[in-house]
Amino acid sequence: MDARQAAELAARTSYGRLVAYLAASWRDVARAEDALGDALVAALETWPQSGVPEKPEAWLLSVARRRLIDGARHASVAAATTDALRIVVERAQEEASMDVQFPDERLKLLFVCAHPAIDEGIRTPLMLQTVLGLDAAAIASAFLVSPATMGQRLVRAKTKIRDAGIHFDLPEAHELPERVEAVLEAIYAVYGTSWDDVAGADARRRGLAEEAIYLGRLVVGLLPDEPEAGGLLALMLHCEARRPARRDADGRYVPLTDQDVARWSTPLLKEAEQILHAASRPNRPGRFQLEAAIQSVHAARAATGRTDWDAIALLYEGLLRCAPTIGAHVGHAAALAETRGAAAGLRALDAMPAAVSAYQPYWALRAHLLRAVGRGDDARDAYGRAIGLTEDGAARAFLVAQAAAVR
């Protein structure tokens, strides 16, 4: 492995840990990131000559700390000249050879990113940048925002963390559940952006699914007693297991109920089941455990050849009680349509709150059910709405074909 690869590997595996540690001790995320960025530049410049240090992580940490100290002294972190860096590197060389142990502060950083004082819309991007080191342009694409705007929003959020003095502490016991939920929501949003992309053609998005699962594993590891963390991880793994089956050999969209179970990933399904089982042991159900349980019922079709829609409908009822999202309402209606018929499903859709006009899955299900009860004109109308709201090309083609088949 050459010096560049070594630096990239160190950055990839340790980025979040290093930023978290530096940010927690300096209470300034932006400066911690800048300092680590400088340290990575210094690594790329010096490692090819001096060789890769024995403990790359300690080396980077030491250089970054020096940068922070120098920055505090001169109050100009941005003016990093190569000469200044070289001096820093020399000093760091000695320190890095010592055995530097530093605590894993990533959990605190996750809680800071999902702090109630931080605007909800920026929590997930903030996590992707600070914990995973993703650049603003990649994050912007995932969230459908212009890269310049995303950059500004991230800077603003970090300034707020510093200026508002948001603490890098673990939440108090009484506020823990709510704060954990905010962290899990933000991680789920990472996965959500990759899941919307049915085609899976965009490599960067497929990458985001992996990042979400990485974060999910991280939180399960850091919060082993939090069943919802396990619930979220199981949910993501279940969805991930089915990713290959969402398109047929010709690249066409395949709805869940028509998927070839042979194309589901058995190892991922097994892992999801184990994690969900472990999470449900303390008997503290929650939104993510319920959603994972719904996916688990779907997954059982691989073994039994049938889908237990009664169980799914029941789980959705539980989900509606604890997290009545628009998606849960639509899922519940779909399950009712399977157990009690299309008319029952339509009644459930009709009873939904009004904020559905731009929600694509609502219109896709509605169209499907209208077609099933023989209301052809209404079905065509609803398919039109669904098609007009669809982003993914494969899903659009599927709906266009469905609409054309309405009699």
């Binding site: 925002v145 212009s146 007009g388 982003e391 993914d392």
Partner: protein, 115 residues
């Protein structure tokens, strides 16, 4: 605020408009998209354009006129039409632009209109 969504299509997209097998899907998708914009009350204008080969480009240089058949520049993706949206901000404009059928085949560009 008004934004113009420039719809860039590939040669395959342009061909789909008249291809017996694909034209229903092509026009169905655009009709549905246009209707979704109208229903949401964000549609403020627009037009579909005939293929670039039908275009004529004109330049005035050194007192001479130069007229040429075809588009301004040869490119893989050519302007196929545009929508003018009236939405509160760029985020909303991008949200709608992402649903434009050409986003998954060619490209869409979103530009704020000069006001």
């Amino acid at each position: 605020m008004k934004y113009t969504v420039l719809v860039y299509e590939t040669e395959t997209d342009f061909a789909a408009r008249t291809d017996a097998k694909r034209k229903d899907a092509y026009w169905g998708a655009y009709r549905a998209y246009t209707k979704a914009l109208t229903d949401a009350g964000v549609m403020a204008g627009g037009a579909g354009l005939q293929p670039p080969a039908v275009g004529t480009t004109l330049r005035h240089r050194d007192g001479k006129r130069r007229v040429q058949d075809g588009p301004y520049a040869e490119a893989k993706e050519q302007l196929g039409g545009y929508y003018v949206l009236d939405v509160p901000d760029l985020d909303t404009a991008l949200e709608w632009a992402a649903r434009c059928p050409s986003a998954s085949t060619g490209a869409v560009e979103v530009r704020p209109n000069l006001s």
